[in-house]
Subunit: 313 residues, 2 copies
Amino acid sequence: MTRPLALGIDIGGTNTKYGIVNRRGEIVTKGSMPTTGHATAHEYVNALRDQLQPLIDEAGHGNITGVGIGAPNGNFFTGEIAFAPNLPWRGVIPLAKMLNEALHLPCTLTNDANAATIGEMMYGAAKGMNDFVLVTLGTGLGSGFVANGKLIYGHDGFAGELGHLIAVRDGRMCGCGRRGCLETYCSATGIVLTAKEWLAQRNDATVLREHAGHLTSHMIHEAAEQGDAFALELFEFTGKILGQTLADVMVITSPEAFIFFGGLARAGELLLAPTRRHMENNMLNVFKNKVAFILSALPDADAAILGASALVW
Amino acid sequence: MTRPLALGIDIGGTNTKYGIVNRRGEIVTKGSMPTTGHATAHEYVNALRDQLQPLIDEAGHGNITGVGIGAPNGNFFTGEIAFAPNLPWRGVIPLAKMLNEALHLPCTLTNDANAATIGEMMYGAAKGMNDFVLVTLGTGLGSGFVANGKLIYGHDGFAGELGHLIAVRDGRMCGCGRRGCLETYCSATGIVLTAKEWLAQRNDATVLREHAGHLTSHMIHEAAEQGDAFALELFEFTGKILGQTLADVMVITSPEAFIFFGGLARAGELLLAPTRRHMENNMLNVFKNKVAFILSALPDADAAILGASALVW
C-alpha cells in the first residue's frame, strides 16, 4: 500500500460511498452505506464511524493524512452542510467537525460538484488545465469553476452554482423558489419534465408516450439513439438552453474546456452536438471555436470518492 | 521621489494618458497626448516615446521597474491589441513589444477594464478583497473578475467580458454582431439608446424631449435628479437589466462586492438602488443580502494610469 493515504467520502441523497485512496488516485478499499434511515445526523455520523473505523485501523491511523467529504450544499469554508434539500437532515449540520470528533482525523468538506471538479483536475480529463468548468448533469445541474488553477469558492464558499443561473426569464419553477433556473431544463430531471410537458401538449407519435408515467432520461436517451424524432427534439431543446448559457459563461471565465459528468452526460453527442452548435451560434467572436467539450474520464462510481479524497492533498 | 517607480499608460479612443507612479500609488508626474492623428501604430508609438523619454530620463531609467499599459481589447498573454473597434488601428497590434523596443523597458499590457480592476485592488475600494467584480459603466460596459485574489484572465486572456453576456435574448443589436448584450442596455450609450427609443414611441412629458437630438447619459442623470419621471424610469429599466444579470454573476463567482466605475456610475443611487433591488429579487437564497455595492474610490482621471502602472508590480 502506497502511503500517504486519504479517506474520501461522497454523501449522496440515497447512499454514502467511501474509499481509501493513495496519492496516485488509486482506490485501495471502498464501501458504502445508506444515507437515509438514521434518526439524526448524529446517529448517521456514528453509523459512518462504525463502518470507517475498521478500514482506518487496517490502513493504520497514522498513514491517513485526512478525510475529504463531498456533500450536496457542503461549504468548504465552514465545513457545514446547509439546508440540503436532498439530504434527510434539516438546517445546518457541522459535518466536518462532527466527523473530526468521531474519527480523530482532519476533515475537509465541500459540495459534491466541487469535489468532482477537484477529482477531475487531479486524476481526470482536466489534469494540467488551469481554466476549465465541470458541469454535472444529474438529478440537478452542478458545477465547479477553476480559474488560474484554483477552484473558485467565492467569498462565502458558495460559488459555482451554474444550475441556478436564470437561463429562461420567467421560465419553469425551480426548487429554489425562483423561475427559469438552468437545472430545471438541463438535467436528467429537466429533460424528463420537458418531455412530459410536450407529451401533454402535443400529439407526436413517439415510443416515449407509453412510458409517460414513469419516464427517465435514460429512456429518452435510448429512444433518441433509435432515431425517435420526439426524443431527438428533446435533446435539441435541452442543448439549446445549455449552449446559450455556456456562451454566457465563456465571457466571464473563458475556460479552455467544459467537462461533462453525470447521468445525462452519458447521452454524449446526442446532447453535446446541439449544445455545441447553439453555444457557437451565440458566441462572442473572440471565443468562437476555441473551447473543448470533454466527457469526464473518471468512472462514475469512483469519481465522487476520488474527488472527495483529493480535498485532502 | 520614492523608488522603485512604474510607468502607467492608459490608451483611450481619444487620448492617451500616462504617469510615473510609485509603489504607494502616488502619481509623481503625468501627461497626455492624442491617440488619434497618427498615420500608423508605428508613428503613434514614436510620438508616445518622444513624450515619455524626458519623463523617464528625469526619473532615471534605472529607477523604473517597468511599463504597464491598459488598452481596449488588450490581451495580457500576447501583449497585443486585437481588433479594437474604438482605436484608430485595424487588425492586431503588438503594442507591448513595440513599446518595449522604443523604451528599452519591460512592457505589460492588458485590457482597460482589467487594468482598472488591478488598480482598484491595489489602491482603491477593493484593497484586501480576494473575490470581487469591477464593472465599468462608460461608452460600453467593461469588467474585471477577481477570484482567490487573482484576476481571471481565462485560458486565452479574454475573460471578463461581462458587457457581452446576452442579457436580453433576441434583444438590441450590439456592435459585436450579436443581439441583447448587456452593454447595449447598461452603459452610457445604452441608457441614451433606451431614452431615444422611448421618446420615439411614447408621449411622456419630459425635459429630455427637447434634447432628443443630442442626448447624453449626463442629461438623463440631471433630469432624474430633478425628479423627471421619464428619466427615473430609464434608470429603473437599466437597473432591472443590470440587476438581473448581476444575480446570475453571483451564482458563478460569488464576489463579496461589485465595484462600479465610469461615467454612468456617477449617477450613484439613481442607478444602484434599482439595480440592487432587481438583483436581490432575482437572487438565489444563499446569496441574498450579502454582496456590497461600492463606488470606485479612485479619481476617474487617475484610475486608469494607476491601474496600468499596477501591472508592473
